[in-house]
C-alpha cells in the first residue's frame, strides 16, 4: 500500500508491504541508517525514533502505522553543520564509545530535555532505562545530558 511519512520535515511517499517495520522503512527504503537495529524484540532501544514527538521503538511499529505522521530520526538533529545540543553534549562528555546505542539514546534524551530542561541524574537514568549501552556504563551518558542541558540554558540566556 502507499504511505506518506514525514521524516525530519520531508514527506516521503513509498509503496510498502503492511508488514514492513518502521525501522526497516527508515533504513532500507529511505537509506537513513542512523537509526540502528539490534535486538528486534523491543528490549535494547537502539532503534528509538520520535513518532509525533514521542520516543518509540521502531522495531515494534509498522511503517503503515506511521502513515500521515511525523518521524524524527538522529539525522534530523543537526541543523546543517551545527550540532544539536544533545549531540554536542555526547561529543563533549564522551557519551559514546562504539556508538551503536547512541542514536537511540540521543532521540530519547532529546525528548526528555524538550519536556524537562533540567533533569536530575535519576530522571535521566529512568528515561533511558529501556535502552542498553554496552560501552559507557551509562555514567558518561548522564554527564552528556547534563552538558546538553547546560548548553541549552546558556543559549537561552544569550537570547534573553
Amino acid at each position: 500500500m502507499q504511505i506518506t511519512v514525514t521524516v525530519n520535515g520531508t514527506a516521503h511517499t513509498r509503496e510498502v508491504e503492511p508488514r514492513l517495520l518502521l525501522v526497516h522503512f527508515l533504513r532500507d527504503e529511505l537509506r537513513l541508517t542512523g537509526t540502528h537495529w539490534g535486538c528486534d524484540t523491543s528490549n535494547c532501544g537502539v532503534c528509538v525514533v520520535q513518532l509525533d514527538g514521542q520516543p518509540v521503538k521502531s522495531c515494534t511499529v509498522l511503517a503503515v502505522m506511521a502513515d500521515g505522521r511525523e518521524v524524527r530520526t538522529v539525522e534530523g538533529l543537526a541543523r546543517g553543520a551545527e550540532l544539536d545540543p544533545i549531540q554536542q553534549g555526547f561529543s563533549d562528555k564522551h557519551g559514546l564509545q562504539c556508538g551503536f546505542c547512541t542514536p537511540g539514546m540521543m532521540m530519547t534524551c532529546r525528548a526528555l530535555l524538550d519536556r524537562n530542561p533540567d533533569p536530575s541524574d535519576t530522571e535521566i537514568r529512568v528515561a533511558i532505562s529501556g535502552q542498553i549501552c554496552r560501552c559507557t556504563g551509562y555514567e558518561n551518558i548522564v554527564r552528556s545530558v547534563h552538558a546538553a542541558a547546560e548548553i541549552e540554558r546558556a543559549a537561552q540566556e544569550v537570547h534573553q
Binding site: 503492511p18 509498522l62 529501556g130
Partner: protein, 296 residues
C-alpha cells in the same frame, strides 16, 4: 530478522467503523493498538492475523476523565490511553495511586509511550500488571459490539491465559473505576531487573469507615491467582478492623490459594512467598494512604 507473515492493513476512523471492519473481515482479523504485544507475536508467527485494524485514530477511546452517572462518580480510562498518560495522570494520583505505582514498573518509558491500557487488558498475559490493579479496584470494563455496549467486571473479564470475554467483533472501549470515599490503594512488584515482567506482583485497595474495612480488593499477577484475584483473603478482611496482624494473615491466606509455576523468573515456593509478602505490603501502604493521604 523477524518478519511477520503477510496481512492486510485497515485504519479505523471510529468505534462503529472498527466493529464494522471486524465484522467484515471475521475472526482472522485483529485490532492493533500500541502493537507492543501483538507485533512481537506476529514477528514470531505466534499470531498470524489476515487483517490488522488500526485503532490509533479513535478519539472516542482516548482520555482520562471523571464520568458521573446516577449520582455516582467513576474514573474513566479510555482503552487507547497509553501507559505514560496514565502514569502522569493527576486524576489517577488523586483517586487511585495503585495505578501510578503499577505504571511506574510496567516495561520501560519508551515502551510505555506506545503500549495502551486496552491492549494490556485484552492481551491478558498471565503476568500483566494492570489486570491485577483493576481487579483490586473492582473496576468495570466497557465493551462495545454491533448490538451496543455492555459492562463486565474486571474480575470476569479474563477467562484464562491470553483469553477474555471480548468477542471477535467487539472492542474494549474504556475501563471505569467507581470513586467512593475513604479509599487507599497501592501496588507492589518484584522484578528481576528494571522494566521486566513481574516475578510476582500484587495490589490492594481498601475502603475504610473510620477503622473498619467496608470493602477491599486484592489483585495478584504472575502467580496463578484465579481471575488475578485473592478472593479468600478479601473475604477474611472485609468488615473487620485495620490491624497489622490481620494484614499478615491476609497475606498468608493469599499465598495459600495461588498456583504459581516455576519458570526462568523463579521457583514455585519463592513466588508463593512473594504473593503473601507483597499482599501484606500492599495492604499496609493502602491503609496508610486511606488514613493519611497519597504521600504515605
Amino acid at each position: 530478522m523477524q518478519v511477520p507473515a503477510q496481512f492486510d492493513y485497515e485504519r479505523a476512523t471510529g468505534v462503529a467503523h472498527a466493529i464494522a471492519l471486524l465484522t467484515r473481515y471475521g475472526p482472522e482479523s485483529r485490532l492493533v493498538a500500541g502493537g507492543h504485544s501483538l507485533i512481537p507475536m506476529m514477528k514470531l508467527r505466534i499470531a498470524n492475523p489476515e487483517t490488522l485494524i488500526d485503532i490509533n485514530d479513535l478519539d472516542e477511546l482516548k482520555g482520562i476523565s471523571i464520568a458521573s452517572a446516577d449520582g455516582a462518580d467513576a474514573l474513566r480510562i479510555g482503552a487507547m490511553v497509553r501507559h505514560t498518560e496514565l502514569l502522569e495522570s493527576p486524576l489517577a494520583v488523586e483517586h487511585f495511586p495503585i495505578l501510578v505505582d503499577a505504571e511506574r514498573v510496567i516495561a520501560d518509558p519508551v515502551v510505555r509511550n506506545r503500549g495502551t491500557i486496552g491492549g494490556s487488558l485484552c492481551q491478558a498475559d498471565p503476568s500483566e500488571d494492570l489486570s491485577a490493579a483493576f481487579t483490586a479496584l473492582h473496576a468495570v470494563a466497557v465493551i462495545e459490539g454491533a448490538d451496543g455496549r455492555r459492562e463486565v467486571s474486571a474480575r470476569e473479564f479474563h477467562t484464562g491465559p491470553y483469553q477474555t470475554v471480548v468477542g471477535d467483533a467487539e472492542i474494549l472501549v474504556e475501563v471505569r473505576v467507581p470513586i467512593r470515599p475513604g479509599s487507599g490503594s497501592a501496588y507492589e512488584k518484584v522484578e528481576r531487573r528494571v522494566g521486566d515482567w513481574a516475578v510476582a506482583a500484587g495490589g490492594a485497595a481498601l475502603w475504610l469507615d473510620a477503622d473498619t474495612i467496608t470493602e477491599v480488593g486484592i489483585g495478584l499477577t504472575a502467580v496463578g491467582a484465579e481471575h488475578f484475584c485473592a478472593a479468600q483473603a478479601e473475604d477474611y478482611l472485609r468488615g473487620g478492623p485495620v490491624t497489622e496482624e490481620r494484614f499478615v494473615e491476609a497475606g498468608r491466606i493469599a499465598a495459600e490459594h495461588v498456583r504459581p509455576t516455576a519458570d526462568q523468573r523463579g521457583p514455585e515456593d519463592y513466588k508463593r512467598h512473594l504473593a503473601g509478602e507483597l499482599t501484606t505490603r500492599a495492604l499496609r501502604r493502602a491503609a496508610a494512604r486511606a488514613q493519611h493521604g497519597t504521600e504515605a
